[in-house]
Assembly symmetry: C2
Homo-oligomer: 137 residues x 2
Amino acid sequence: MYKAIDISEVSKQSGVPASTLRYYEEKGLVQSIGRRGIKRLFDTSILNKLNFIALGQRAGFSLDEIADMFTHQGVLKIDRSQLMSKADEMDKQIKELKAVRDGLRHAANCDAPSHLECSKFQRLMKAAGKAQKRDKR
Amino acid sequence: MYKAIDISEVSKQSGVPASTLRYYEEKGLVQSIGRRGIKRLFDTSILNKLNFIALGQRAGFSLDEIADMFTHQGVLKIDRSQLMSKADEMDKQIKELKAVRDGLRHAANCDAPSHLECSKFQRLMKAAGKAQKRDKR
DNA sequence: CATTGACCTAAAGTTAACTTGAACTTTTAT
DNA sequence: ATAAAAGTTCAAGTTAACTTTAGGTCAATG
């Protein structure tokens, strides 16, 4: 069903450097499925996982946090309520991103001398800043 | 108009440690307005700036990128088109975040044995992955 | 007027996420 | 059969964003 491919093929198809793949394996984020001689072999399913990892990182998760989302067998493991609360956290983050984006957009069209002092700009920032209370990320 | 406050007051009101404030000043991200004796004095307007910096960081900008958004005098400087394209970049990022969030939410309610192999999950991920082509962030 | 507490500088240390380098070992191509 | 290409390990190096430490300064308080 799934094909075993070597590290350069994984690298080629995913864009993730071989050195990073070894590093990820060391960290337990991904696992090779065996060796051919001395060379690692990966299951093609690693490509989905790498895709998820990349997205998760861009979404602001650390590698440790991402690793925590999987069982040692590589299956998404955390329970439903944990998944939901991660998703809720992300909602906050999305709100903040939108505020910054809107702030930038407003600044691009506003003639105030210093945008930080512009009341509209401040209103946009404040909206996002709310969630910011000691989040400890 | 604006009041000069010392580093501990800035720290107290912003939640940013004094060591970080000194570090930010060294990097040129913020500026003190003078000294009383040996002690730095800051204009209260630094609080808005710190708020913006925190938000920018949570939005995924590096300190250097944030610094680049201001003139040396601390005014948002980059031109309108640059501001707009930063905002457009953020739109992509928001899309990705939403995809990951939706993916997590779906996973919380899906009975597939491995979510990475679930076609709905994959569809959600793919939607975001598109923008991912060599972004070099 | 001596000590305490808030602040200062400069340099070194820390963590995450990688990358690079050195020294080997297999494969693979000629 | 041999040399280059592709992998491997393990250790050390790199960058960003801070924090910590050591030693010094100064204003205020007992």
